[in-house]
């Protein structure tokens, strides 16, 4: 069985559409669509816009304006969307008036799944036939095709997940079935002449764009005196800081116009500030001027540390940037104060338990 390693929010959503028979009739959905269109025109009139050119974004903005909500969960706020997005896809009744099903594989129970498997296998046989034809004509053409395949794989694509497949077929797919389908797809894609069916395979694969993003390191800027400097920003638990690190310095650090010895009388905070410079071995070489606000003593120290590490990236080789990243100097600390729950005294502490 395939194990999901990367998970996104889309993957974890459950598919409600493929479960069970129809809950909403077609007439009902049609009525909802009419009501939605009427409502859209009314809303446009209310907002003073043109009803003809009222897009979904305009609807969202209007609703957010008319019904402001402070709820944190975006999906809990008031919503006005086209019914096809709101009501999950349902399967229409699969048989006609005489009780005879439309699809020939209806009595297998999983008609869409088996029809999909049949299609894919047909494509596979097609490709193999094509391959044999090519082999019969010429042996050399088979070698240049693997290169194109590597390009496609390296782009960071992944196969459709089980839930996405269920959405596409609008019926339940079990784990075994899903893994069989994926194996078949992989076999198809692995063949040297699979380019013919490229379009078909692309229907079942998705790009993972997150890997392609690279953090851009800003170049050094130079101020009037000719001294190189760079800025960085950092946050930690309600405190936000900006740091400007200058080159050719003596190791003096100023926070909000005050020397660190006076601003951070506690040794621990000063050690936090020291850490990025000590890690790179540049303790006495840079000057720093920072501004910080919000948070408490420790949070401000952590924010300045992150900001200075980000600023130091511009002064340092890529390998050292990678070292810093692995040391945890460049990651934002996600810990924030946990919310207090009702029925408990604090986020975790329960009330004193009394036996009677």
């Amino acid at each position: 069985t395939l194990r999901l390693i990367c998970t996104t929010a889309a993957v974890q959503r459950k598919n409600a559409g493929a479960s069970g028979p129809e809950k909403y009739t077609e007439a009902f959905i049609k009525k909802q669509i009419e009501e939605f269109n009427l409502g859209k025109r009314h809303l446009a009139n209310m907002m003073g816009e043109d009803p003809e050119t009222f897009t979904q974004e305009d609807i969202d903005r209007a609703i957010a304006y008319l019904f402001p909500s402070g709820l944190f969960d975006k999906q809990a706020r008031p919503l006005m969307k086209h019914p096809t997005e709101v009501f999950p896809e349902q399967r229409k009744i699969q048989w006609g008036e005489d009780g005879r099903p439309f699809h020939f594989l209806f009595y297998t129970g999983k008609q869409s799944y088996y029809s999909l498997m049949h299609e894919t296998y047909e494509k596979l046989l097609n490709v193999q036939k094509h391959q044999d034809q090519l082999k019969a004509e010429d042996q050399l053409k088979a070698e240049d095709l693997p290169l194109q395949k590597e390009k496609r794989n390296l782009a960071g694509s992944r196969w459709l997940t089980k839930i996405e497949l269920e959405e596409m077929l609008v019926e339940k797919v079990s784990d075994d079935d899903y893994s069989r389908f994926i194996r078949l797809l992989q076999k198809l894609a692995a063949l040297p002449c699979a380019d013919i069916e490229e379009k078909y395979i692309q229907k079942f694969s998705k790009e993972v764009p997150a890997q392609l993003q690279r953090v851009v390191i800003e170049p050094l800027q130079y101020d009037e005196r000719g001294v190189a400097f760079s800025t960085g920003e950092g946050k930690r638990k309600t405190a936000s800081a900006t740091a400007v690190v200058y080159d050719n310095g003596t190791g003096k650090i100023t926070v909000n116009g005050i020397d660190i010895l006076h601003y951070f009388p506690v040794l621990q905070d000063r050690e936090q500030l020291l850490f990025p410079f000590q890690f790179l071995g540049r303790i006495g070489k840079h000057d720093m001027v920072c501004t910080v606000s919000g948070g408490g003593r420790s949070a401000q120290a952590g924010a300045i540390r992150l900001a200075s590490a980000k600023a130091l990236r511009s002064f340092v080789t890529e390998k050292e940037v990678e070292f810093m990243r692995q040391a945890g100097l460049l990651t934002v600390d996600p810990r924030v104060k946990e919310r207090k729950k009702p029925g408990q005294e604090g986020p975790r502490r329960k009330f004193t338990w009394k036996k009677r």
């Binding site: 190791g251 000063r270 020291l274």
Partner: protein, 382 residues
């Protein structure tokens, strides 16, 4: 980096440095950070940044009560007293050497942030003066006189003043032990009555007044007042030089934390000791000098970021001390930092492996901000 340090210091060596520092530096690096010039009179800019030794007997004689507590602990640990020669001290010594004693006494105020070495500079100057043969009037911490006093007696001399017998007797004891020979030489000029029966005749040595104060604790504060007044009146004659060294002089003009029996707060003028000391600090006498330090650490009701004379003395104090020479005491310069660090290394005070490296030194400098007190506290657990 030790070799580099050696080169720097050997280049700045003067002719007054003694034999030990002329040895091959790489073999005995300890000599680089020290001078064996233990007479402060001979300290010049060449000795700046180096530590000099005070023999332990002298320490006991000159400083019965002046040194900061942490420094006393350090003396006990290292079994020697090493004081760093720093620029403010050298300036003061130069001023003192060049001052004209016929003029009224000049007032010097040492000020600076917390833990930069003002008290140590004062002790350096006191050591110099006592070596030169001056009479040293050293008040270790004026803040001790305005707070945490358990006993307050109403003064018999003036009705509205309050006495502090304990503090006065402690101070008299220390004064006696540090200035023994003067007490025999100086004679009183007036007759003083202590209560109904005892009195001190004219022409008796001052030592008797001190004995009287120690024996009769009730009149100790008055004895202090008498001593101060006698010294003030006789100093212009020139038979001895008088140095008034007060640490934490801003206590004399601030508020006190003492209360009278009816819970009303006591102002500093109502304390005999403070009153007499204020008279001492007025520059209407000649034949000596007044050296004072401001101190925020013991001061009451003052914000912790205040360190200038204006802030700490308040308007009253500033006016009273008005024509004074302010001397700022900064944090360690890089050279001073290196010599302090080298001293700790050499006495094996820094045990951590990383402390011996260049990185460790940079780290210490960063974390302490070159502040002597911070460095001392940092080096403690290492």
């Amino acid at each position: 980096q030790l070799d580099r340090g050696c080169a720097l210091h050997t280049a700045a060596r003067g002719g007054l440095s003694s034999v030990s520092s002329q040895d091959v530096p790489t073999e005995r690096p300890r000599a680089v950070f020290h001078t064996s010039e233990s007479d402060p009179a001979k300290h010049t800019e060449q000795h700046e940044g180096r530590l000099y030794n005070i023999p332990l007997e002298e320490v006991k004689a000159v400083f019965p009560h002046g040194l900061p507590y942490r420094f006393q602990q350090q003396i006990q640990t290292f079994n020697e007293a090493r004081v760093m020669v720093r620029k403010p001290a050298l300036e003061l010594l130069a001023c003192l050497k060049g001052s004209n004693f016929a003029h009224p006494a000049v007032r010097y105020v040492l000020y600076g942030e917390r833990g930069t070495g003002k008290t140590m500079t004062l002790c350096h100057v006191v050591h110099y003066c006592s070596k030169q043969g001056w009479l040293v009037l050293h008040i270790p911490d004026a803040h001790l006189w305005v707070k945490n006093c358990k006993e307050l007696l109403q003064s018999s001399y003036k009705k509205d003043r309050l006495d502090q017998p304990l503090q006065a007797s402690v101070w008299l004891k220390n004064f006696k032990s540090s200035n023994e020979r003067f007490l025999q030489e100086i004679k009183t000029q007036k007759k003083y009555l202590w209560g109904k029966q005892e009195s001190t005749e004219e022409g008796r040595p001052l030592g008797e007044v001190v004995e009287q104060g120690l024996a009769r604790v009730r009149s100790a504060s008055d004895a202090v007042g008498v001593v101060l007044r006698e010294l003030r009146q006789q100093s212009h004659r020139g038979s001895f030089r008088l140095l008034v060294a007060v640490d934490g002089v801003n206590a004399l003009w601030g508020r006190t934390s003492l209360r009278k029996e009816d819970k009303s707060p006591v102002s500093p003028e109502e304390l005999t000791l403070v009153h007499n000391l204020r008279k001492m600090l007025r520059n209407d006498w000649s034949g000596g000098a007044i050296v004072t330090t401001l101190s925020q650490t013991g001061s009451l009701f003052k914000p912790s970021s205040a360190y200038t004379p204006q802030e700490l003395l308040g308007k009253e104090g500033f006016d009273a001390l008005d024509p004074f020479v302010p001397i700022p005491v900064p944090n360690y310069s890089p050279r001073e930092f290196e010599s302090c660090y080298g001293y700790y290394l050499e006495r094996k005070w820094l045990q951590h492996e990383k402390a011996h490296t260049e990185d460790g030194k940079a780290e210490l400098q960063f974390l302490s901000g070159s502040n002597p007190r911070q460095l001392d506290r940092l080096a403690g657990p290492l």
